[in-house]
Chain length 279, copies 2
């Protein structure tokens, strides 16, 4: 089945095409917008793909314009997909806080009112959007990596640790690493999934790392001057990774904060690393 979508914009970039597209999502019951960068190599066959999940308040656009991914995607012959971070629109539940509701889907499938009807970002990212993009773009379904920033780093890690057979490489920039023990997490997991903490365990990278790990190397970058360190809790993830003897690299980058200037600085490293893992 080929799912329908419409083109919002296409711009040439580093010899490839940076596209923005919109489709009616069955998962969320809303129109959803996403971006894909297709490198020049895609003219000659299916290419590996990196999923980039964004953080709180972001849309598909922030990383597309600020992360500097296209340069490296072009060089390494990889596509990059930038999904939105939640359903949006007038009929969609929301909250006045920036960190709950629209722009803050946390990559879970909500089971609680008023969120359950639309907030199904886990299913959207892992099932519906893949069906659409693999049916319509020259992407290699057997060469998928995933990364993300902040809330998106949380999404990338929890998704990859749950489905390592699908996501053959994973990295993260300043991920929300232990949301069940943070004010960036407890409020949202409680709202979306209810008070039963057993339902939260599948959405905490530190708990998943302790429980199962990841069968290949992982890469984490964290800025030492990040203004949200107390909410991200990288020390919990570093402890779990080390305790488990998880293969991989955890880098504390001196002086970097939580901004896209941090992401952009290390995007080339991450993309080269994903390209090697997916080769």
């Amino acid at each position: 089945m080929t799912l329908a979508y419409e083109t919002v914009s296409e711009n040439r970039s580093f010899g490839g095409v940076q596209g923005v597209y919109r489709h009616q999502s069955q998962a969320t019951g809303t129109p959803m917008t996403f971006a894909i960068y297709m490198p020049p190599a895609a003219e000659h066959g299916r290419v590996p793909v990196l999923w980039y999940l964004s953080g709180l308040t972001c849309t598909h656009e922030n990383a597309m314009t600020k992360a500097g991914a296209q340069e490296w995607a072009s060089e390494y012959g990889m596509a990059v997909i930038f999904p939105d971070t939640s359903p949006r629109g007038e009929g969609v539940a929301d909250d006045e806080a920036y960190d709950l509701g629209q722009g803050a889907g946390f990559y879970v499938d909500a089971t609680q009112a008023p969120w359950a009807p639309h907030f199904r970002m886990w299913h959207y990212i892992t099932h519906e959007l893949p069906e659409l993009v693999f049916g319509n773009f020259a992407l290699d379904r057997d060469a998928q990596g995933i990364t993300g920033h902040s809330m998106g780093g949380h999404g990338a890690l929890t998704i990859a640790l749950t489905m390592p057979h699908v996501y053959r490489s994973v990295s993260a920039f300043a991920p929300i690493a232990n949301p069940t023990e943070s004010d960036w997490g407890r409020k949202q997991l409680s709202a979306y999934l209810g008070e039963d903490r057993a339902a939260w365990a599948g959405h905490d990278a530190t708990l998943l790392m302790r429980e199962r790990g990841y069968p290949r190397e992982i890469l984490i970058d964290q800025g030492s001057a990040d203004q949200f360190l107390h909410l991200l809790k990288p020390e919990a993830l570093a402890h779990a990774m080390t305790e488990r003897r998880q293969p991989g690299t955890f880098r504390m980058q001196q002086g970097y904060d939580h901004s896209y200037f941090f992401v952009q600085t290390f995007m080339g490293d991450h993309m080269r690393w994903h390209a090697e893992q997916l080769a």
Copy 2:
């Protein structure tokens, strides 16, 4: 004299610092915001500097976040300055059109009402802001290059061709190349400088190229799919450059449009080129 300024933000980026600063401008009579990227090399001494002038509707922020300059500035040990494109504020004249007034200073010193009191971007860019930055940052005043996009390409070319002893290298991305013959130019030059076309001649890159040229190589990139080709008039500049035997390179980049995806794609080329010219 050291002019006063305040720090709006500083973020670590590619080992250097991306800063945003604000000061009270005497040229415009308003507060003005500008950004500077200082590369790691500036920790050890004064570095060459590239002025990046932005296009219509932009502030200091667009190129700072979307052009991808920091990566190359870090690698080549150059600073990059991103000024605003006009004075702003409630007491400053404006127009409903996006291409006149605030966000559209056109890099001239206005002589006509209601623009003359504040719209003095030529003087601001070429005299006041240099005094501030060379007095406060580790920048080499004898190694200045200038570039820009669209209206900023117009600014870069007209400034460099007028003061080639100050700006030792110049390039442009999709510049407004012949504003005295374009709807991106006649309206603004008329509004800011009056109906005497003699006053316009110093603000048209094609006319300056015909009259005096530039004593070193210049570099121009233009996208073939640019939606504003009929307003930019690159053919007039190419004709003038060729007729004069101006040393340099004019590249028509197939399939690229007017967006920052175009600028970002070729920013590395331009920065390497400026670094070589200023070495």
